[in-house]
Amino acid sequence: MGDSQYSFSLTTFSPSGKLVQIEHALTAVGSGQTSLGIKASNGVVIATEKKLPSILVDESSVHKIQSLTPNIGVVYSGMGPDFRVLVRKSRKQAEQYHRLYKEPIPVTQLVRETAAVMQEFTQSGGVRPFGVSLLVAGYDDKGPQLYQVDPSGSYFSWKASAMGKNVSNAKTFLEKRYVEEMELDDAVHTAILTLKEGFEGQISEKNIEIGIIGEKKEFRQY
């Protein structure tokens, strides 16, 4: 990020009051692989399809769902490398919070700080916005929580949400299937069904990734 005389923000307003770069970033997200999340009464589940460019790729080396702290996990739609950078920054911020306050970072705080980073990149000189939307799933003493963070830096709390290629179909499906006091197992089942809706080809444990958080744990399974 430059301090030189030539670094000015690349994200500027259009005459209609929109930030065109952010619109483009959202388009990049919209052409990424579908991912979704569902908040149950006793946990959260996030899932994504993991379509690899070729059968020769070693799928065990690709991790689209990452954990930020032992009780917070995240999934994305959009550009993988941008996701990696954000995960690294978020992990460091969670660790710094823990060093300072000696308590595990609450989900809202981590989401807020990650969103602040994403916003920074829409206003600083010489950088472009991130081309990812994140779904952050966590369980802290406020209960299970699911947040979506957009390239603009805005974040929303969802009961169930989807993003990526198949977003409209997935959201319609979720709206129909979502029940208020859903249990975690039902939520996992619903998540897989929703993924199957827009899936091209045969769905199997090798081409989807699921992250589940119950009470204070985050573990993944394919």
Partner: protein, 274 residues
């Protein structure tokens, strides 16, 4: 305003300017250096059959006063690595905290269990950077994928790798016990009792060590933190019921003698002049 300096970012790192001033002041005897809480300590570690056992006493001193009778000197670094600290209490806690944080981030990035040598290198680089001003003498032990490891780290940043180690003011007393009784292939019970003996030797023979014995046993995939494993110096507190004396003083005789008020009036002939 010097335009040439605007573009240069501020230099990072520790500024040693005040250390020279402090040295000068203490040499001149003008200002006594502030006293800080030291852990004049006995800390030990040994490698046994299946892993590592760390032990420490629990007394913290500020000068010649015991300021904490039951402090924790065995610090968490990683699920499979613990570190005992001797020296200035604030220094040992801050440096172990910082490296523990760095190890956690490293674990996230690599997806693997932390190694003892990683913790060792992070600690020694940090202590060397501060040229011995961070007064932390540490005994670092843990079990990782390459086996059990035990290291000592000195305040200036040098390290040793040993099968058994002691640090702190009570280190000589504890080392005497180790040197005569340590052998390879100890079982867990033998190891714990040897560590207890060594710490007790430090507790009873060194003024800077005292109170209780803390033990930490680390094996592959498991750790046991035995806080206050032995309490050789039980502290009896004042009973909350208060004191009561069984036999009160008996009253044998009551005699009251009023004192007569004697007021003498002295005539002063001359009034005071001036």
């Amino acid at each position: 305003m010097d335009n040439a300096n605007i573009g240069i970012p501020p230099k990072g790192g520790f500024s040693f300017d005040l250390c020279r001033r402090n040295d000068m002041l203490s040499k001149k005897g003008i200002v006594p250096p502030p006293s800080y809480r030291k852990t004049g300590t006995t800390i030990v570690g040994l490698i046994f059959q299946n892993g590592v056992i760390l032990g420490a006493d629990t007394r913290a001193t500020a000068g010649s006063i015991v300021c904490d009778k039951n402090c924790e000197k065995i610090h968490y670094m990683a699920p499979n690595i613990y570190c005992c600290g001797a020296g200035t209490a604030a220094d040992t806690e801050a440096v172990t905290d910082m490296v523990s944080s760095q190890l956690q981030l490293h674990r996230y990035h690599t997806g693997r269990e932390s190694r003892v040598v990683t913790a060792l290198t992070l600690l020694k680089s940090n202590l060397f950077k501060y040229q011995g001003h961070v007064q932390a003498a540490l005994v670092l032990g843990g079990v990782d994928a390459t086996g059990p490891h035990l290291h000592t780290i000195y305040p200036h940043g040098s390290t040793d790798t040993l099968p058994f180690a002691t640090m702190g003011s009570g280190s000589l007393a504890a080392m005497a016990v180790f040197e005569s009784k340590y052998r390879e292939g100890l079982t867990k019970e033998e190891g714990i009792s040897l560590v207890c003996e060594a710490i007790c030797s430090g507790i009873f023979n060194d003024l800077g060590s005292g109170s209780n014995v803390d033990i930490c046993v680390i094996t592959k995939g498991d750790k046991e933190y035995l806080r206050n494993h032995q309490l050789p110096n039980p502290r009896t507190y004042i009973s909350s019921k208060g004191y009561s004396f069984p036999k009160k003083t008996e009253v044998l005789l009551t005699k009251i003698t009023p004192l007569e008020n004697q007021v003498e009036v002295i005539e002063v002939g001359d009034s005071m002049e001036e």
